[in-house]
């Protein structure tokens, strides 16, 4: 019973933390942000090169992907610290991307924002680890989301007249696991990172891409 009670307290406290952070985000004019547990999953993907990106588009990408992460963490930290003092496992899971390591064509601002999230993740882990707060980032590759479907359909994909189904088949074939990821695959990693099973994991960037970036580009032979 004691353990159950503790779990209920944890969830209750976590919900209050999240609500407080969401309120603060709204105060700062950040909307359209969805949050799951302690994870911050909010992002926009702009399919343009640097030359074609306007300053407004650049600023919008950074506002959502980087400033959103910064503000969420900034205002969650006092509450996470208090939770850690109370013996609750406190951690942050940011959303980076494999695009923070390597570039997809025509996604310049997105790649840059994800690189910034990676660096911010390490900085947070370094600064707040001593108070018991773990900070990690998940870095998904191709995951079946509306963002991916938009990428397939968009000019940035550079498709040559094939159908989206053709494109999807080709994308699956390049992955060592012969499929791309599902939102559940990502949620599983976030769940683990936020759990006490991951109590020594901090400051790391967790690539989840079905083996895609373990390989050199697959030349057509």
């Amino acid at each position: 019973m004691g353990r159950l009670s503790n779990e209920v307290d944890k969830v209750d406290r976590q919900e209050r933390v999240l609500q407080a952070v969401l309120d603060l985000l709204a105060e700062h004019g950040i909307s359209g942000v969805s949050m799951r547990a302690v994870a911050k999953r909010a992002g926009v993907e702009l399919e343009k090169t640097v030359e074609d990106t306007t300053r407004e588009e650049w600023n919008h990408s950074f506002a959502v992907n980087v400033t959103g992460t910064f503000l969420t963490c900034k205002h969650a930290l006092p509450l996470l610290r208090a939770a850690a003092r109370g013996g609750v496992s406190a951690s942050v899971v940011n959303f980076g991307s494999y695009d923070g390591f390597i570039a997809d064509p025509g996604l310049a601002a997105y790649c840059a924002t994800k690189g910034a999230v990676h660096a911010l993740t390490r900085a947070l882990a370094c600064d707040h680890g001593p108070k018991g707060i773990r900070v990690n980032a998940v870095c998904p590759g191709y995951v079946d989301t509306p963002m991916l479907q938009s990428f397939f359909a968009g000019a940035g994909s550079g498709g040559r007249g094939g159908t989206i189904d053709d494109m999807q088949d080709a994308v699956r074939e390049v992955h060592p696991l012969k499929r791309y990821g599902t939102p559940d695959d990502v949620a599983n990693l976030v769940h683990w990172l936020a759990s006490d099973e991951a109590r020594y994991a901090s400051g790391q960037l967790w690539v989840l891409d079905g083996g895609l970036t373990a390989q050199v580009q697959q030349m057509r032979v």
Binding site: S157, G159, Q215
Partner: protein, 249 residues
């Protein structure tokens, strides 16, 4: 003339030959080696030792020859390498002995042979690693692993033998060599495979041995006296891009 006594392993052709010619042009007294006889087109003032660096005795013999004839070796370029195109499941013990012998033991033995004099006089070691040491080329399992070994050994030499010795790795991508030709030859349509490979490079070409030699020459120069323990990729941008390029479908 720099007058440096320089050893480049595997200088008969490809990247090794380009490194030999580049360092020779800069005034180094170059000794190179290979498993076969002296190549007919090797410049007369480059010294040749027939030796397999996988054999530690032969490795010591190469360094002793250079020490004796040109003075203590202060620049070593570990270039010699071999590749077997097989998965783990298909690789034999002989494949392992061949690839690990040359690519790992060779780099180790040559480095160990030059380090006593380099610790005393100072020196530079430049290893030829590969992008394959960081990301996998398919069906090149032992080769990929052997290059990761080179990257790791580079850091150890830099840490253990600095400040007298600097040690770095150059990681070539696809370079126009016989090894690359062998890779394209496996394709159903080698010409189409080459065109596809070129298209995947932001530089829109494959590398040349002289591209790699230029990086080696810089790392071995006094322009790079604060550079040690690192791996530098020279691949025309290949690995800066995602392995998945929908635009190429």
């Amino acid at each position: 003339m720099t007058g440096r006594s320089t050893v480049v392993t595997g200088g008969s052709r490809g990247i090794g030959r380009a490194v030999v010619e580049r360092l020779r042009a800069g005034g180094d007294a170059v000794t190179t080696c290979g498993r076969g006889a002296r190549p007919a087109d090797l410049p007369d003032d480059v010294q040749w030792v027939t030796a397999d660096v996988a054999d530690p005795v032969a490795a010591r013999r190469v360094v002793a020859f250079a020490n004796e004839s040109s003075g203590p070796v202060t620049v070593l370029v570990n270039n010699a390498g071999v590749c077997v195109e097989r998965t783990v499941l298909d690789s034999t013990d002989d494949d392992w002995d061949l690839v690990v012998g040359v690519n790992c033991r060779g780099v180790f033995s040559m480095s160990r042979a030059v380090l006593p004099e380099m610790d005393r006089l100072g020196g530079v070691i430049v290893n030829i690693g590969s992008i394959s040491g960081s990301v996998a080329d398919p069906s090149m399992a032992i080769y990929n692993a052997s290059k990761a070994f080179v990257h790791g050994l580079t850091r150890s030499i830099a840490v253990d033998h600095g400040p007298q010795v600097r040690c770095n790795t150059v990681c070539p991508g696809w370079i126009e060599t016989e090894m690359a030709d062998d890779g394209f030859a496996l394709a159903q349509d080698p010409a189409a495979a080459r065109a596809d490979a070129v298209a995947r490079h932001p530089a829109q070409r494959l590398g040349t041995p002289t591209d790699i030699a230029a990086m080696v020459a810089w790392l071995a120069s006094d322009e790079a006296t604060f550079v040690t323990g690192q791996a530098f990729t020279v691949d025309g941008g290949l690995t800066a891009a995602s392995p998945l390029r929908p635009g190429s479908f």
